[in-house]
C-alpha cells in the first residue's frame, strides 16, 4: 500500500428529484450523497458503511458515472493521465473503465440470463474493442484466477450457484486488469459458507495484482476484516473517516459507536448487548436540521439541531462530523440501554 492517491473524491453530491402527482411535479430532493470527500490510496481497501439508504450505492454509481453527479470532482489518477470522471467525455470514460470496474451486490440480477459466462466476462473487453479470439483467450486465462474451471465458460448464469455467479462478476470486473475495483456489497447475497471463499479471493487478488478497492458492505465484521480505512455515512453525509483501528477502537462519532454496538457477537457467553440505538433513520427527503443524527443521538444538545457540524480533522487522518467530537466520552456505560423491556401496561 502506498500514500499516493489513485482516487480523489471532492465535494461529491447527488440529489434525486422526488416527483408526485399526475404532472410529475418535483416536490423535493433526496440528498442521496451530500458533499462527500475522500481519497483512496494505491493498493488500499477503503470500506464504506452505513445503514440502508445512506447513499453508499449512489457514491459507487457516481464513481463510474452510472449516474450523473450533480456536484464535485472525481479525480482518477491513471497510469498516464488524470481524469475528472465527473466531467469526462465519452471517449475518456472508455479509458476510465479500463482503470476502474464495479462488482454489484446481486449476483442473480446483475448477469444477463441469455449470455454465456464467457460472453459475460468478455463484455468489458468488447467495449474496449478487443477482438473475439483474443477476448476468448483472456477469459480462459482469468477463470482459474477466480477459482473456476474452464468448463464454466459455456454455462449460463442459471446453471451457476450464487458463489459461482459472484466469481463470474469478479472475473468480468478484473478482465481489463483495472487497478481500481468498486465492490458494492459483493458478499451480502451469499451463503455463509461461500462468503468467506469470496472474501479470501478478493484478499488474494488484491495482493497478487496490487488492486485498490472501494468495498461497500453493511456487515461491519467483514468490512473490518478487509479494509485498511473505513468511511461511515449517515443520510448522505460522511460522518466519520479513519483507519480501521481508529474507527473500530477509537471512534469519535456517536453514530459510528451505535453501529458498532449493534453488531451481534457470535458468542453465547457474551450476551450483554451494550447498546441499542433508538428510533429509525429519518426520511432522506426531509432530514433533521443541523446534525442529521441529532434526532437519535443520546448526546444531542441545542446546538446540534441548530447548526450542522463540519467534517473536522482530529489528527492522524481521522475525520469526524460532530460538534463535540473532542469532548464526548463514548464509553459503553453512557450508551445505557434505552429501549429495554417495553411495559405491558400501556
Amino acid at each position: 500500500m502506498s500514500d499516493t492517491p489513485i482516487l480523489q473524491v471532492e465535494n461529491l453530491s447527488k440529489f434525486f428529484p422526488v416527483q408526485r402527482g399526475l404532472l410529475r411535479r418535483t416536490v423535493g430532493h433526496v440528498k442521496a450523497v451530500n458533499d462527500v470527500s475522500f481519497a483512496v490510496n494505491k493498493g488500499e481497501c477503503l470500506g464504506l458503511v452505513g445503514e440502508s439508504g445512506c447513499g453508499k450505492t449512489t457514491v459507487a454509481r457516481c464513481l463510474l458515472r452510472l449516474v450523473e453527479p450533480d456536484q464535485g470532482r472525481i479525480l482518477l489518477h491513471g497510469e498516464q493521465q488524470t481524469f475528472d470522471i465527473a466531467s469526462a467525455s465519452r471517449k475518456e470514460m472508455l479509458d476510465v473503465r479500463r482503470q476502474m470496474q464495479i462488482i454489484f451486490q446481486d449476483p442473480f440480477s446483475s448477469l444477463d440470463p441469455r449470455w454465456r459466462v464467457t460472453d459475460v466476462i468478455a463484455e468489458p473487453l468488447m467495449a474496449q474493442k478487443v477482438g473475439r479470439g483474443e477476448a476468448g483467450r483472456r477469459v480462459l486465462e482469468i477463470l482459474p484466477t477466480v477459482g473456476l474451471g474452464p468448463h464454466f465458460a459455456d454455462r449460463f448464469p442459471h446453471e451457476l450457484s450464487g458463489g459461482e455467479r459472484q466469481r463470474v462478476s469478479i472475473a468480468r470486473a478484473l478482465i481489463v486488469s483495472p487497478p481500481l475495483v468498486v465492490a458494492d456489497e459483493p458478499v451480502s447475497a451469499l451463503d455463509v459458507s461461500v462468503r468467506s471463499q469470496i472474501i479470501n479471493l478478493l484478499l488474494d487478488l488484491q495482493s497478487q495484482m496490487n488492486l485498490t478497492y472501494v468495498f461497500i458492505a453493511h456487515d461491519l465484521s467483514i468490512v473490518k476484516h478487509i479494509s485498511h480505512r473505513i468511511a461511515v455515512m449517515y443520510l448522505g453525509r460522511l460522518v466519520e473517516l479513519g483507519t480501521t483501528q481508529q474507527v473500530f477502537e477509537d471512534c469519535k462519532h456517536p453514530y459510528t459507536k451505535a453501529l458498532l454496538a449493534s453488531v451481534l457477537i457470535p458468542d453465547p457467553t457474551h450476551r450483554e448487548q451494550s447498546y441499542v440505538l433508538e428510533g429509525e433513520v429519518p426520511s432522506p427527503l426531509n432530514p433533521p436540521s443541523g446534525c442529521h443524527f441529532s434526532t437519535r443521538c443520546p448526546f444531542a444538545q441545542e446546538q446540534c439541531s441548530a447548526e450542522e457540524p463540519e467534517l473536522r480533522d482530529m489528527g492522524g487522518g481521522h475525520w469526524v462530523r460532530c460538534h463535540f467530537a473532542e469532548e464526548l466520552d463514548l464509553s459503553e456505560e453512557i450508551f445505557a440501554p434505552q429501549f429495554d423491556t417495553p411495559t405491558a401496561s400501556n
Partner: protein, 331 residues
C-alpha cells in the same frame, strides 16, 4: 435446565415436494423439542429447509408430503395434539394457528395486506381468536403497537403498510403475532432484511417479550450471531437434514459435526486477525434435487471417508447433544 417442560416435540419430520423435475426432500428426518419459555434456534444456509420446517408446524404447506410427528402440548394436563394428523384446512389447526402458535414471516411486506390499515389487520387477528367488543379489540390493538415500540401508536393505527419503514412493518407483524398471547412464537428470519441497528431493537424486543409472556420462541436464521445471542438450544440443518443439535454454549464451544465446525470457523469474529485468509468450506450447497446420497455434506466435508456414502447415524454426546455423522462410530 430446571423443570424443563416440552411444549412442542418434532419427531422424524419429513417434508417432500413432488416436482416435475423430481422429488425435493426439503426436510428429511428432523427431530427437536421446544421447551416452555425457551428459545430454540434453527440455523442453516439458504435452502436447507428452515422455512419448510417452520411452515409445516402450522400446516401451511398443504401440497407437501409430510410425515412424522409434531406434538403440541397445550396448557394443563391435556393430551398432546399431533399437528401432522390435523386437516390442514380444518378448524382444529385454525384454532391453534395465530392463537397458540403464531408466526412472523421472512418478508413482512408480503404478509401484510397492502389495502388494509395496520389497525384493521391487528383487529382482524384479534377477532379471529378472542371474543372482545369492538372497543376492547381496538384498545388491545393499540396497546400491542405500543408494546412493540411503535411511537404514537394511536395515530399509526390508521396507516397503511406502505407508509411504514421495514423495521416498523416488522414490529407490526410482531404485534399481530403477539396480540393473542401465543404460547409459541415462530420467527422466520425476522431481521434479515433490516439494518443492524433495527435488528438489535427487534431482537431485544423479542427477547423481552419472551420473558414477559413466558413464551417459547423458535428463531430461524442463517446468522450464527443471532443464534448466539438468542437461542438456548440449537438445531443445525444442512440440505434438509439435521447435522447437529445442542445447547447453545456447547454448540459454540464443542461442535461435533464437521459442518458446524466449519461454519463456526468461517465466521469473522472480533478477534479474527485482519486481512488474513478466513477458514472456508469448499464448494457450495448443491441443488436439493441433486443432493449426494448418504451424508449430504460429503462432497464438501474435509473428514469424508468411505462409510459416508451410507446414511450416517445419530451419535449422542450428552442428554441434549447429538450429531449425525460417521466420524464418531468405530468400525
Amino acid at each position: 435446565m430446571p423443570n424443563s417442560q416440552p411444549i412442542l416435540e418434532v419427531h422424524d419430520l419429513h417434508v417432500h415436494f413432488k416436482m416435475l423435475a423430481g422429488i425435493v426432500r426439503a426436510v428429511d428426518g428432523v427431530d427437536f423439542t421446544v421447551e416452555r419459555g425457551r428459545c430454540l434456534g434453527i440455523v442453516g444456509e439458504s435452502g436447507c429447509g428452515k422455512s419448510v420446517t417452520a411452515r409445516s408446524i402450522l400446516r401451511l404447506l398443504p401440497s407437501s408430503d409430510t410425515s412424522g410427528q409434531i406434538l403440541y402440548h397445550p396448557d394443563g394436563d391435556g393430551q398432546p395434539i399431533d399437528l401432522v394428523g390435523l386437516d390442514a384446512k380444518g378448524d382444529a389447526i385454525r384454532a391453534i394457528r395465530g392463537k397458540d402458535i403464531a408466526m412472523i414471516f421472512q418478508e413482512p411486506m408480503t404478509s401484510l395486506t397492502p389495502v388494509y390499515t395496520i389497525g384493521e389487520q391487528i383487529m382482524e387477528s384479534i377477532r379471529q381468536h378472542q371474543n372482545l367488543s369492538e372497543e376492547e379489540s381496538q384498545e388491545l390493538a393499540i396497546s400491542m403497537l405500543n408494546k412493540v415500540g411503535i411511537p404514537d401508536a394511536e395515530r399509526r393505527f390508521a396507516d397503511y403498510p406502505h407508509q411504514m419503514s421495514g423495521g416498523m412493518r416488522q414490529r407490526v407483524m410482531i404485534a399481530i403475532a403477539l396480540c393473542c398471547e401465543p404460547r409459541i412464537l415462530i420467527a422466520d428470519e425476522p431481521t434479515t432484511a433490516l439494518d443492524v441497528t433495527i435488528q438489535a431493537q427487534i431482537l431485544r424486543l423479542i427477547r423481552s417479550l419472551q420473558q414477559d409472556l413466558d413464551m417459547s420462541v423458535i428463531m430461524i436464521t442463517h446468522d450464527l450471531a443471532v443464534i448466539a445471542q438468542l437461542a438456548d438450544f440449537v438445531v443445525v440443518m444442512y440440505l434438509g437434514q439435521m447435522a447437529e443439535k445442542a445447547p447453545v454454549v456447547e454448540l459454540f464451544q464443542d461442535p461435533k459435526h464437521p459442518y458446524t465446525q466449519a461454519l463456526l470457523r468461517s465466521i469473522v469474529r472480533p478477534d479474527t486477525p485482519p486481512r488474513e485468509q478466513l477458514h472456508s468450506i469448499s464448494g457450495s450447497v448443491p441443488d436439493p434435487r441433486n443432493a449426494p446420497s448418504g451424508c449430504r455434506f460429503r462432497n464438501r466435508c474435509p473428514s469424508v471417508h468411505d462409510r459416508c456414502v451410507e446414511d450416517p447415524p445419530v451419535v449422542e454426546f450428552g442428554p441434549q447433544h447429538s450429531a449425525t455423522c460417521w466420524l464418531y462410530v468405530d468400525d
